[in-house]
């Protein structure tokens, strides 16, 4: 097997599995903080909610830590050329994540767990610190990625290394802001649907009614607000950045092969990269031009306008993007319906809506992962956009065979971890918010 392909498979597998847990921690942290805060005001029901969600959060966090350990080091093990050339830049936000975010999260989580019986104001502030740590951690990681998408604040030294000039340019990269906002809204959608979905499950199984109603209410509101924000402004602005800085990725996302004035938006269709056409498409005329440039007759360049070797893998980018957007639309619709029913005071008795909320739980995970596939697969063939190719980024003395062996090891370990994670979370849910 091609060495870099093995490296890419390993990275894709370990990062996608790892990311399942940060979705949970970034999405649930504000709920933990909110309920802990209410509990420190003497709200006994919120105290039960805080204990329950702290348990779920902690299992998530532990799995995130365990699967996060190799991420920090994989740049060195499997991507030595990339690490050597760009480490002085990429290493910075990663070091900041460790020093400013990860410590905050892990140290204060200890306090939240310790004070879970009877939360004081100090416990509540600690829960806020955990949330800040989780969100800040996400920021530094997105920042690292944003630099790979749109490198800024560096120069290329004589020996070919990329040297940092201005760390603020990297931190405040024009690509990072909306991307981070979009990532965070994605996690909060997941948080909202998890809290709402578990509340719906309790209501449907006629358990813990008062607390379950609270979960459904809080979850539905958060899910609705953030799925709306995921489309506008965060998703829209993130796409605008892609349009500006990575037009080839935009063409791949949309499955646009032909350059066109007044380009249509493909709602569905299957890209055929042999013939460079979209099979069985359903088009909405002129909308892509409008979304990309705010003008119904703007010129949008198609994939055929670019050299073959500059194109990302079109199929994966296209499908992942359409899955994300399709699911996002469903989230807004379901969220809006739930909030409407809440307002009409019929949400808690509407069994179909509760069923929908319960069954939607896994889908924000799919949408979040799909979003990252768009971002990272769509970045190919570059590891640092326009500067360094993925093909030249691997480790010179690590063979594909070694990577396949370690990939198998990671797969086995993560399978066990995944089974245990599901078992523990399901057990907590079954035990419910009684304790």
């Amino acid at each position: 097997m091609d060495t870099v392909l093995a490296d890419r498979l390993q990275f894709a597998f370990t990062i996608m599995f790892h990311y399942l847990f940060p979705i949970g921690t970034m999405g649930l942290a504000p709920f933990v903080a909110w309920y802990t805060w209410k509990a420190s005001d003497g709200d006994a029901e919120a105290a039960r909610a805080a204990r329950f969600w702290t348990k779920i959060f902690t299992i998530n966090f532990a799995a995130g830590v365990v699967t996060g350990i190799p991420m920090e080091f994989q740049f060195g093990t499997n991507w030595a050329n990339f690490a050597e050339r760009s480490g002085s830049i990429v290493g910075q936000p990663l070091a900041m994540e460790g020093m400013f975010a990860f410590f905050l999260e892990s140290i204060f989580l200890g306090v939240v767990l310790y004070g879970a019986r009877a939360p004081s104001r100090f416990t509540a502030w600690s829960a806020v610190a955990v949330c800040a740590g989780a969100w800040l951690s996400g920021f530094f990681i997105v920042d690292t990625d944003a630099w790979m998408q749109y490198p800024v604040g560096y120069h290329i030294a004589a020996n070919g290394r990329l040297e940092l000039d201005d760390v603020w340019a990297v931190l405040l990269s024009p690509f990072a802001g909306w991307q981070y906002a979009h990532v965070l809204t994605g996690a909060l959608i997941a948080g909202g649907f998890i809290v709402g979905g578990i509340g719906a499950y309790y209501l449907l199984s006629e358990r813990g009614a008062a607390l379950a109603r609270r979960f459904v209410r809080d979850g539905a509101i958060v899910a609705f607000v953030f799925s709306s924000l995921a489309i506008f402004p965060t998703g829209d602005r993130n796409s605008a950045d892609v349009t500006q800085y990575q037009p080839i990725k935009l063409a791949a996302m949309e499955g646009l092969f032909e350059t066109a004035r007044g380009a249509p938006l493909a709602i569905i269709g299957m890209p055929d990269t042999q013939r460079d056409v979209l099979i069985d498409p359903i088009y909405v005329p002129n909308v892509l031009s409008f979304l990309a440039y705010g003008n119904f007759t703007a010129n949008v360049k198609g994939l055929k306008a670019y050299a073959e070797e500059l194109r990302p893998p079109v199929e994966l980018t296209y499908y992942a993007y359409h899955v994300m957007v399709g699911l996002g639309t469903i989230f807004v619709a379901a969220g809006a319906l739930a909030v409407l029913l809440l307002w009409r005071k019929r949400l808690f008795t509407s069994r179909p809506m509760l069923w929908i909320l319960m069954l939607l739980m896994p889908f924000p995970y799919i949408a979040n992962e799909a979003g990252w596939i768009v971002t990272e697969v769509g970045r190919q063939p570059w590891i640092v956009y326009g500067v360094m190719r993925t093909a030249e980024a691997g480790s010179p003395n690590v063979a594909a065979g070694e990577t396949i062996f370690t990939l198998a090891g990671f797969a086995g370990m993560y399978f066990v971890l995944g089974v245990l994670f599901l078992y523990l979370v399901l057990r907590e849910i079954a035990e419910g918010a009684r304790a």
């Binding site: 996060g68 080091f73 290493g91 400013f100 306090v111 000039d165 480790s395 690590v398």
Partner: protein
Amino acid sequence: MSTAGFCVIAFMLTAYVLLDGFDLGVAFVAPLVARDERERGAVMASIGPFWNGNEVWLVAGGAALFALFPRAYASSFSGFYLPFIVLLWLLMFRGMALELRHHFPSRIWQDFWDAAFTLASALLIFIFGIALGNVLHGFPLDANGYFQGTFAYLLNPYALLVGAFALAVLGQHGATFAAMRIEGAPAERARILSRRLWWIEAALFVVVTVTTFGVRGIPSVPVVVVLGFLSTAALAALPAAVRSRSAAAAFAASSAFVAALLASAAAALYPYLLPSIAGTTGGITIFDAAPSPAALSCALAVTILGSIGVGIYGSLVWRRMAGKVRVE
């Protein structure tokens, strides 16, 4: 400038060994300190709130190495690919063991994870020791600074000796921590263990020091000599501190010993990050892996500000959670 970067890396790795060292050590000596499940529960609870924060030093230290000396980061992690991945697996497995054990009130479940935890921790200490031994010993490196030897080469007698020494040192460190943090019978056993371990530790200290002189030559740099004497003094003070029944003093002595020992090793290595075997070329020094001034000042600021922040809220939290763990 590069020297400051070297100090940052040395500081972070020393902080890691000092802090994660005690929870690794506690895990390693747990079977000797705790006799039944209740006591073992207390031993695990004594490190429960800390291990994760302690491990962040390794992650942050890795990132700092990445930022400051990308060449050393790239060539060492990919050069020792398999041993390094095994190390990561052990770290992950250990985290799983500690987090999973208390979720299920079954004797078999807990026995399994406790054994896994002790075994993984002991192996980690041993491997860290072997790694340090190899770094002190030097590697066969090619012109680009990539490791040219075999897996078996890394298990040379000197490295194994340092691995054994690491087990004694961190076992001692863990025992003094357990004596400080736990109440009742396990604490007493930890105290006795720490007195007995001292003899092994001191004997290995002498052997390792003498063989290190053989491998690297007798140190002449003043800093190395001073730090070496400091570590000897801390080791000598340890039994008195243990006997004085002040658990905090014993832990402080053990910490001083670990810190001075690692600092002297770092000072002896300077300016090498990844040395080749004595007399050959190809080692990576801080100068040929030198960071750009902007990268260095940024990483320095992050490390210093971050450490101050962690120091402030870390001690706040430690104070809140002070007090001993009871056997329940």
